[in-house]
Structure formats: structure tokens, C-alpha cells
Subunit: 395 residues, 2 copies
């Protein structure tokens, strides 16, 4: 039975990933430092509903499924904690005094500060984003090299690493012919926040590790994720994943649906022609699953663009406007001066074929999915705090 | 009179840069955390001769020239120290209780862990390299943005950021035509150590700052520097810059001359066909001076390849062998298994025109320069510790 280690297993995506692999019968261990919970608390960014702590959620999962997800609460920027996970040394936070007995076959690495606006709030949070994200990645890379060089690292990157160049965005790599000679390079990256830049740096670091030590790495360039639940958790409220609708941790579709439900105008930044690739949370899990069962080879940095559709902000706003109106919500759209520095009208043609090639079937955003989404958010309407929706964090 | 702030002003290049600008009459302030001194002490890597501490050197400089270089001893990964330098708040370490009264017009940023082998010794030093180099750069970027957006940042990068690609290396940027469309990108970077990778990350970070906040940045992609002195300090031993000949902090030409003087075989790693661009320490100062007097514009990341010649390791070894033999040293060359992971025989064609265009006149390595170098090292022959020359730090 394979052992799967999920770093950042308390988060929006880490938690449903843990549940998914546990439901399939794998030995799952999650590690988290509660950064997201603490930041929400400190910045008064209450999620749409309360989420039990990680140990309580795992206890609930055990009650429901009979399966144990081991929990380790700790900070992975500490290299000794990271290394202990590969040396049968770690004592879990739950179940009590249980030891991790086997090296992980696969590590799914979500343990990063995940918000562009958070990274841009001030120099302290910029420093935190850089040092947290890079030290966790470096500690992981060294631990795998030193103790378990055949483990497969699945790392969450972001489409934001590429920015919005005037050429087609390939999947991770590009062949360049220059003055009559050829070379294959990482596709050039130029991001538009400190957070996204930290993810470029992660890629740089892993690319070094792959070349130097023949590590096995899959780097998933993910677009903004939407959705409130996955198949495995939808029938048990106590297992729900965290859902933020604020400007800092809420992704755009999740925010817009929530805004529509309370009649808060959909906040389109600038012209609204910013295009991005998006993905349903169920497809995120599918992508990780397919990457897991079709691993990268030693010495390979395999990069997939993890999106299923592209939309402009205007297109998203219009879809949510229409569905909201059909459901009799008082939806409106408001263009506001862009607080960010980004291109508001640009070429955007990313390729995303690799994950399809290993078997991912896309769930495309449509009116039915959005209707379900409205119905779900409606249940928690009374929890919604209009004051945290938009703060205009400036770049 | 312009104010110049030199971060890392106690180092091999930072110190002669400080002396140069002070000799020209500028107001110079140096900041250093003594990382290099402490690392040499902790790893028993004694430099070729003893160097007075930074305050004593500045006192000596004042005696000789009548000029004051202000000294601040402290760690620039602390953002508050960095920010205080731009707010007339810092109390100097020397002269006593003097205040920095003006914002710097130009900041020359050398305050990084500068050694590839050091970064590869273990995971702790890898983490230190990443967090030190990135946090100092980020703190600098934010301080300039917040307090002095018209200050010119001159940052030392490295040719190692490019690695050894199979195409010509342009100066920082490349135009890519792909599927019929065009975009200008940072030249793709892929380095071969954690240190060099941290420098790629610095470039990523500054490129973000330039686009977001219109900063003025010159990034100097420097090759390995050689030489023991600059014009301004050569007649006063107490003003000499630090000279390492060990594998960790000693650059290759400096090491090879020292090895030749004590009859230690020149250690050529692998085939020895590794090609790099090199530069004389006097030309480093010239390049910084010309960059200073021809600053980048706001919103410009200007990149120069700061080298004057390229050589393979074999070519360097042969030149030093010949000069050593002419001076009757017992020089020999020994090919040893390469402890590093790098291409040993590769295409290498870097461009380096930009600094010439703003007036830098190259000092080319020749037999006379090498003879002077041998004579200089000979004076300190009794200080040379053969045991620290080669340790074989593995990648």
C-alpha cells in the first residue's frame, strides 16, 4: 500500500486531496502549520462556514470511513521537521504518539503561502511569502535527495508564473532557435506579484534539483480553482474544505458567486479583459490523481498546465450575472479602477494538453454548476460579511 | 555630493568599491554583517593575509586620505535595518553615533552569500544562501520603492545564471518568435548550484519590482573575478581586500596562482573544457563606476554581462603553468574527477558589449599581470595552508 504525504493538508486543496487518497485506501499523512487559519483569524477574514480543526476533521473522517489520516502539526520551514518525515522519526499530533513508519512514495506539496494579494500587503508579508515558500520547497528537495530519491514530488505551481506574454504559452518548456542554434528551455516566466514570483523561484529550484540529483518532479501550473466541494466530502458538512470569499484568499469565481448572493456588485478590476485559465476543484483532485498514478521519471521535471478553460473577467462576471438573475438575485457588475498592476487587455493562448493525455476528463463550467454553487452559498448567506469582500489591496 | 550606499562593503569586491568612490570624493556608507569573515573563521579558511576589521580599515583610510567611510555593522535580512538606512534613522557603528543624514542616490548591492560550493555543503547552508540573498534583495527593493524610488540600484548578479546553453548568450534579454508572434523575455536561466539559482531568483524579484514600481535597476552578470588589489589600495597593506585561495571562497585564477606558488598541482575538474567569462578586479570597479555614472532609467532593468574574456579551465591552467615555470615554480596540472555536476565540454558564446558601450576599457589577462600576481602571492607564501586548497565539495 502506497504512502502519501500531503504538505499543507489543511488547506482549500490539500484537505480534499487527503480525503481523496484516503478514500482510495492509501496511507495518508498530512502536515500543516495552520498558516491559512491563523491569517484568516488575524485579518478577520472569516470563511463562509466554520471548519473544525485538522485533528477533529480527521476524527470525523475516521468515524465516517473507518480510515485514519495521520496528522502532524508543524512548520516545514524547519528542515529538521521535514527530514524527520523521511526517517521514521516523526511523532504524529494525531493519532496520539503514533509514529510515521514508512517513507512516502509520493509527496504532494501544497505547503505555500497561496495568495497574491496577501504577498502584496506589505514588505513583511512579502518576506514571509518568499522565505516560507522557498524554504519548504528546498527542505523537501533536500530530504528527498538525502533519504528517498525515488519518491515522486507533485508540486503545485501556478499559471501566473508565465504572466501574459504575447506568444502562445507552452506546457512548461520551449524550444528556442537563436542565431542558427537550438536549445530547450523552461518557458520564460514573468509574474505579476511577489507570490507568483515566489512560484517561479520554486520552479527554478526544483529544476536545479532534477538536473543535479535526478529527482522525480511533477510541477502543476494551476489556474484559479473554483468550487466548494469534491465528491468525497459533499455529504458531510464537518468534512467541508475551507471556503474564502474575501479578496485575499477567495478565488475569483468563489468570490463572485458569494457577492451575487448578497447583492454586492461584482467587482471587475479595470477593463476586465484579463484572461486566465480556470479549473474546477474536482478536476484539481483528478489532475493530482492522474499525476500520481503516472509519475515523472527520475531526472524529469514534468510540467503540466492545470486548467480546463480560459475566461476573461468580463466573461466570468457575465455568466454569474446571468445565472444569478435567473435565480432572482439582485446581481450587478461594477468596473472599478484596477488596484493591481497587470495588463487589462492582452493575448492569451495557453496550451493544456498533457493532463488530458494521461486521462483527466475536464469538468467544464456551465450554468448547472453555477446554479448548484448559488444554492450552496445561499445556505450560508447569513454568515457573509460584506466588509471583507473588497479591500482594494494595491500593488 | 552624491551619497552611495554599499551593501556588503566588507567583501572582496565591496571594500575596493567603497574605497574607489570615497577616493573620488563621494559620501560613502558601507553595511556588512561579517558573514564572510565568520564563515572563514568557522570553516578554518584563513585568507592569504590578515585583514583589519571594517572599522579599523576605515580608520586607516581616513588617516591616509582624510576621508570618512561610514560603517554600519548589521544584518540586512532585517527589514527594519534596511529601511532605517533610507529614513535618516541609522546610527553608525563608526564614526561613533554619527547619523546617516541623506538618502542614498545609488545603492551597490553585494550583500549576498557569494559562494557556489558554500551553498552546496549541506541543506542548512543552502537554506541560508536562499533566504539571505532573497531577503536582502527584497528588503532593498521595498525600501527603495517606499522611501526613495529614484535611487539607482546596482546589483551584482552572475554569468552563472545563464548556465551553459547551446545557443549564444545575449545580454540579459532575448527576442523570441514563436508560432508567428513575438515577445521579449529575460534570457532563459538555468544555473548549476543553489547559489547561482538564488541569483536567478534575485533577477526574477528585481524584474517584478521594475515592472510594478518603475524602479531603476542595473543588474551586472559578472563572471569569476581575479586579482588581489585595485589601484586605490595597492600601496597600503592595511587596506588590502580579502584574498581567499580555498575552494569555497577563492575564485579559480586566485586559487591556481596560489597553488602554483606552493607547488600544489592545479586542480582541473574533469575534462577541463568548462568555459566561463572572467574579469579583472580593477575592471569590476570600472564597470560599477560606469554603471553609476550612466544610470538605468525608472522602469528599466538594465542587464550587462560583466566579463572581458572567456577561457576554459584548461586554458587558465596552461597560462598559469607557463608563467609559473618561467618564474621557476614547480607547477603541475592534475585532472581530477569532477566533484560538481556540470557540463565539461560545451558551447559557450556570451555577448558582452554593453559595458564597453558606456566606456569600460578591458584589462586583459596576460603574462605580465600573472607575473605581478605571482610576485604578490610569493610575499605571503608562508601563510599558505595547503590543506584548505581542495576539499572536493560534492554537488
Amino acid at each position: 500500500m502506497k504512502n502519501i504525504l500531503i504538505l499543507g493538508g489543511d488547506g482549500y486543496l490539500g484537505w480534499p486531496t487527503a480525503i481523496f487518497f484516503s478514500s482510495k485506501g492509501y496511507n495518508v499523512t498530512v502536515v500543516d502549520n495552520y498558516f491559512r487559519r491563523n491569517a484568516c483569524e488575524n485579518l478577520s477574514l472569516r470563511p463562509l462556514y466554520k471548519i473544525p480543526n485538522l485533528i477533529n476533521r480527521c476524527q470525523e473522517w475516521k468515524k465516517k470511513s473507518g480510515k485514519i489520516i495521520k496528522v502532524i502539526l508543524g512548520d516545514l520551514t524547519d528542515p529538521e521537521l521535514m527530514r524527520s518525515l523521511f526517517q521514521k522519526k516523526t511523532i504524529t499530533s494525531w493519532p496520539e504518539e503514533s509514529c510515521i513508519d514508512n517513507k512516502p512514495d509520493t509527496i504532494v506539496h501544497f505547503a505555500e503561502q497561496p495568495s497574491a494579494p496577501y504577498s502584496m500587503t506589505n514588505y513583511k508579508n512579502a518576506n514571509f511569502t518568499i522565505s516560507n515558500n522557498l524554504l519548504v520547497t528546498n527542505n523537501l528537495m533536500y530530504a528527498v535527495k538525502d533519504f528517498s530519491p525515488h519518491s515522486h514530488i507533485i508540486k503545485l505551481g501556478t499559471m501566473g508564473e508565465y504572466g501574459t506574454p504575447n506568444i502562445d504559452i507552452e506546457e512548461g518548456w520551449i524550444d528556442i532557435n537563436h542565431n542558427g542554434r537550438n536549445e530547450k528551455f523552461l518557458f520564460p516566466r514573468q509574474a505579476s506579484s511577489i507570490y507568483h514570483t515566489s512560484k517561479i523561484m520554486d520552479t527554478d529550484l526544483l529544476w536545479f534539483g532534477v538536473r543535479a540529483w535526478k529527482l522525480k518532479v511533477t510541477d502543476l501550473m494551476q489556474g484559479p480553482v473554483y468550487g466548494f466541494t469534491t465528491k468525497e466530502i459533499k455529504n458531510n458538512e464537518k468534512l467541508y474544505t475551507i471556503f474564502n470569499y474575501d479578496e485575499i484568499f477567495g478565488t475569483i469565481i468563489n468570490r463572485f458567486v458569494t457577492q451575487a448572493v448578497v447583492g454586492y456588485p461584482l467587482t471587475v478590476f479595470g477593463k476586465g479583459e484579463q484572461k486566465r485559465g480556470y479549473i474546477n476543484i474536482n478536476d484539481t483532485i483528478q489532475c493530482i490523481d492522474k499525476s500520481f498514478s503516472n509519475p515523472a521519471k527520475n531526472g524529469e521535471l514534468r510540467i503540466f498546465n492545470q486548467i480546463t478553460q480560459t475566461f476573461s473577467v468580463n466573461q466570468l462576471a457575465e455568466m454569474i450575472y446571468e445565472v444569478g438573475r435567473e435565480l432572482n438575485y439582485d446581481v450587478s457588475i461594477k468596473n472599478i479602477p484596477n488596484p493591481r498592476i497587470e495588463n487589462e487587455d492582452h493575448y492569451y493562448n495557453p496550451k493544456y494538453q498533457g493532463l488530458k493525455d494521461i486521462g483527466v476528463k475536464a469538468t467544464l463550467l456551465n450554468k448547472d454548476i453555477l446554479k448548484d454553487f448559488f444554492i450552496h452559498v445561499e445556505k450560508y448567506k447569513n454568515n457573509i460579511d460584506r466588509d471583507i469582500i473588497f479591500k482594494g489591496i494595491k500593488w
